[in-house]
C-alpha cells in the first residue's frame, strides 16, 4: 500500500490516542483532588468538628459555628433567590414566550450566571455593607441569593418549556384561568425539573467564598445574629488554610472535605433526578 495510506492511518492513531489521553488527564485530576481531600480531610474528622467552635491557634476546636453559619446563609439566600428566579422563569416561559423582553432577560441572565462571583460581592458591599457600615450575615445571604437567581431562572424556564402544550390547552378548555393552569398543571408537570434547579443552586452557592469575604466576613464565635458578621465554612477554609498553624490547616482540610462531599452529593442527586424525568 502507498505511504499516503500509512500516513493517514498514523495520523488517525496519533489523534485518537491524544483524545484518550485528554480524557485520562481530566479524570486524573478529579481522582487526585478527591483523593487528596479524603486522605487529608479524614485525618481531622472527629465529633469535635461538629460540636465545637473554631479555635484560636494551638487549641482544640471544631467547625460548628462555620457549619451553622453556612447553613443559615445558604437557607436564607436560597429562600430569597428561589421564588424570584422561579417567578421570572415562569414569566419567560408562560407569558412572555415570544416577547423581546424575554430574549433580553435570557441574555442578561446567562451573563449573570457566569459573572465573577467576587463582583457580586462588591455590589452587595456597595449596596448593603457600605450603607449599614458593618459586615453582616444578611449581606452574605443577599450575595448568595443573587447567585441563586440565574441558576433557578434558567432551569425553570427550560423545564416549563418542556411541558407539552396539550396539557395547557386541556386545562384551559376546562375553564381554568391561566394562573391556575400554571400553578396547578405546568408546575406539577415540571416538578422534578424545578427541584433540580434548586438543588443545583444550593450546590453552587454552598461552596462560594469570594462574595462572602467582604459581606458576612467571619466570626470566631457562635453567633446567630443576622445583623452581625457570621462565620461560614468556605471563608474559614480560606483563612485557616493560609495560616501558618498546622492544626488550623488540618481543620481547613476537614472543612474542605465536608463542603466538597455536600456539593458533589447535591449535584449528583440533581442530575439523577433530571435524568429520571427525561427518560420517563
Amino acid at each position: 500500500m502507498s505511504s499516503l495510506y500509512y500516513r493517514r492511518r498514523n495520523a488517525n492513531a496519533v489523534a485518537t490516542t491524544l483524545c484518550w489521553g485528554a480524557a485520562a488527564f481530566g479524570l486524573a485530576w478529579l481522582v487526585m483532588i478527591l483523593g487528596a481531600l479524603v486522605v487529608e480531610g479524614v485525618k481531622g474528622l472527629s465529633l469535635d468538628v461538629f460540636t465545637q467552635n473554631t479555635p484560636p491557634p494551638g487549641s482544640a476546636g471544631g467547625l460548628l459555628n462555620a457549619i451553622m453559619g453556612s447553613l443559615i446563609m445558604t437557607v436564607i439566600g436560597v429562600a430569597i433567590g428561589t421564588p424570584l428566579g422561579m417567578l421570572a422563569g415562569t414569566y419567560m416561559a408562560e407569558y412572555g414566550r415570544y416577547s423581546k423582553l424575554t430574549v433580553v432577560i435570557r441574555f442578561i441572565n446567562d451573563i449573570l450566571l457566569s459573572a465573577p462571583s467576587i463582583v457580586i460581592g462588591l455590589f452587595v458591599y456597595e449596596v448593603l455593607v457600605a450603607q449599614m457600615k458593618h459586615f453582616s450575615a444578611v449581606a452574605g445571604a443577599a450575595a448568595l441569593s443573587i447567585l441563586v437567581i440565574p441558576v433557578v431562572l434558567r432551569t425553570t424556564e427550560d423545564m416549563l418549556l418542556l411541558v407539552p402544550g396539550a396539557l395547557r390547552e386541556a386545562s384551559s378548555a376546562l375553564g381554568m384561568p391561566r394562573s391556575y393552569m400554571i400553578q396547578r398543571v405546568a408546575y406539577r408537570a415540571a416538578k422534578s425539573g424545578l427541584v433540580t434547579g434548586v438543588l443545583l443552586a444550593v450546590a453552587r452557592v454552598s461552596g462560594e467564598t469570594a462574595p462572602l469575604l467582604f459581606t458576612s466576613l467571619n466570626n470566631q464565635f457562635w453567633s446567630l445574629d443576622l445583623n452581625a458578621p457570621m462565620a461560614s465554612l468556605p471563608v474559614v477554609i480560606f483563612q485557616f488554610a493560609l495560616s501558618p498553624y498546622k492544626d488550623w490547616q488540618q481543620l481547613a482540610w476537614t472543612g474542605a472535605l465536608l463542603v466538597t462531599a455536600m456539593v458533589l452529593a447535591l449535584s449528583i442527586f440533581a442530575r439523577a433526578l433530571s435524568r429520571q424525568r427525561t427518560t420517563k
Partner: protein
C-alpha cells in the same frame, strides 16, 4: 347552550356568588401575571444595579488617577497611589495559560466522548468530567497550595529552568527560583477548572452535526480523525469558539483558586514562575484590609474593569452559541 339556560334559572344570590368567584379568579390571574413580570424585571435591574454601583464606588479612584490607573504599575497603600496594570497583566497571562491547557484538552475530551468512548462508559465519564466543574473553587485553591505547588516546586520547575536555560526568550519565561506558587501554577489550575465547560459545550455542539454528514465522510473512506477534522469541526466552529470564550470568561473572573497560588506580588515579571497577582485575587486579598476611601475605591474600580472585560467576553460567547442554536433548530 346549557350555560345560557342555567343563567336564566339562577337566583340572584347564585349570580352574585358566581360573579364573586369570577372576580376573584381574574384578580388572581392579573396578580400572578404582574408578580412574574416584576420578578423578570428584577433580573434586568440587578444587572443595571451591579454596573451602576461599581461605577459609583470607583468614582474616587477615577477622580484621583484618571486613565493613568490602567497604565500605572505602582501599588502603594501608604502613599495612596494605585495602578491596575500588574493585576490586569496577571489576569491576562494566567487566563492565557489556562486556555492553552483547556482548549486542546477540552476539545479532545469532547471528541473522545462523542466518537471514541465505548457507549456504556459515555455517561459516567461525561459526568465525572462535569464533576470537575462542580468542585468549589476554594477546594482547587487548597489542593493547589498544599499538593500541586510543592510538587511543581520540587520536580517540574527546576527541570523547566534547566532545560530552557540556554534558549533565548524561553530562558526569561522560565527564570528565577522555583517558588512553586506563581503565574504558571495558577494558570494550570485555572485550565483544569474551565476544562469541563469547554468539554461539555463542545460535546453538545458536536451532537448537533447531522449524522448523515459524518456517515457520508466515513463512506468515502475518511478516518475518524479526518471526519472530525474536516467535517465536524468546521461545521461546529462557531459553537466551539463560543464554548472557549465561555471558559475564558470563567477563567478571567475565577478568584479563590488563584488567590491561593498566585503569590500576590504587585509587579510585572518576565518569568512565568514568578509570583504575580490578578484582579480578583487582589480584591479578595486586600478588600477587608483596605483603609481609606481611595484604596477601597481603587479595588472597586478593579472590580469594574474585571466586570467590563468578562461582560464582553461572555456576551460574545452567548451570541456565538445562540447562532449555533438557531442553526440546530433550523
Amino acid at each position: 347552550m346549557s350555560d345560557f339556560a342555567l343563567t336564566g334559572m339562577q337566583s340572584g344570590a347564585a349570580k352574585t356568588e358566581r360573579a364573586r368567584v369570577l372576580a376573584k379568579l381574574s384578580f388572581h390571574d392579573a396578580f400572578f401575571r404582574r408578580v412574574t413580570f416584576s420578578a423578570a424585571f428584577t433580573v434586568l435591574i440587578l444587572l443595571g444595579g451591579v454596573i451602576l454601583s461599581l461605577i459609583e464606588g470607583s468614582i474616587p479612584a477615577i477622580r484621583a488617577f484618571g486613565f493613568g490607573f490602567l497604565a500605572s504599575q505602582s501599588w502603594n497603600p501608604v502613599t495612596d497611589n494605585f495602578g491596575a496594570l500588574p493585576a490586569v497583566y496577571g489576569t491576562v497571562v494566567t487566563s492565557s495559560i489556562a486556555m492553552l491547557v483547556a482548549v486542546p484538552v477540552g476539545i479532545g475530551v469532547a471528541v473522545f466522548l462523542t466518537e471514541l468512548c465505548p457507549h456504556p462508559l459515555r455517561r459516567p465519564i461525561g459526568m465525572a468530567i462535569e464533576l470537575l466543574a462542580g468542585i468549589p473553587s476554594i477546594i482547587y485553591g487548597i489542593w493547589g497550595l498544599f499538593i500541586l505547588a510543592p510538587f511543581l516546586q520540587q520536580h517540574v520547575q527546576p527541570a523547566l529552568i534547566s532545560i530552557f536555560a540556554g534558549a533565548p526568550g524561553l530562558s526569561t519565561l522560565f527564570a528565577g527560583p522555583p517558588y512553586g506558587i506563581g503565574m504558571l501554577t495558577a494558570g494550570l489550575i485555572l485550565g483544569v477548572m474551565v476544562l469541563p465547560f469547554i468539554a461539555s459545550i463542545s460535546r453538545d455542539v458536536f451532537d448537533t452535526v447531522p449524522p448523515v454528514l459524518k456517515e457520508a465522510a466515513s463512506g468515502v473512506g475518511c478516518t475518524t480523525w479526518e471526519v472530525m477534522r474536516h467535517v465536524v469541526l468546521p461545521y461546529t466552529k462557531t459553537g466551539v469558539i463560543g464554548g472557549v470564550m465561555l471558559g475564558l470568561g470563567r477563567a478571567l473572573g475565577e478568584t479563590m483558586a488563584v488567590t491561593f497560588v498566585i503569590g500576590n506580588a504587585h509587579k510585572i515579571s518576565g518569568s512565568l514562575l514568578a509570583p504575580g497577582t490578578t484582579i480578583s485575587a487582589t480584591i479578595a486579598n486586600e478588600f477587608t484590609e483596605a483603609v481609606g476611601d481611595v484604596y477601597t475605591s481603587a479595588l472597586v474600580e478593579l472590580g469594574l474593569i474585571l466586570f467590563i472585560i468578562t461582560f464582553f467576553v461572555l456576551a460574545g460567547a452567548r451570541l456565538l452559541l445562540l447562532r449555533i442554536e438557531s442553526k440546530a433548530g433550523a
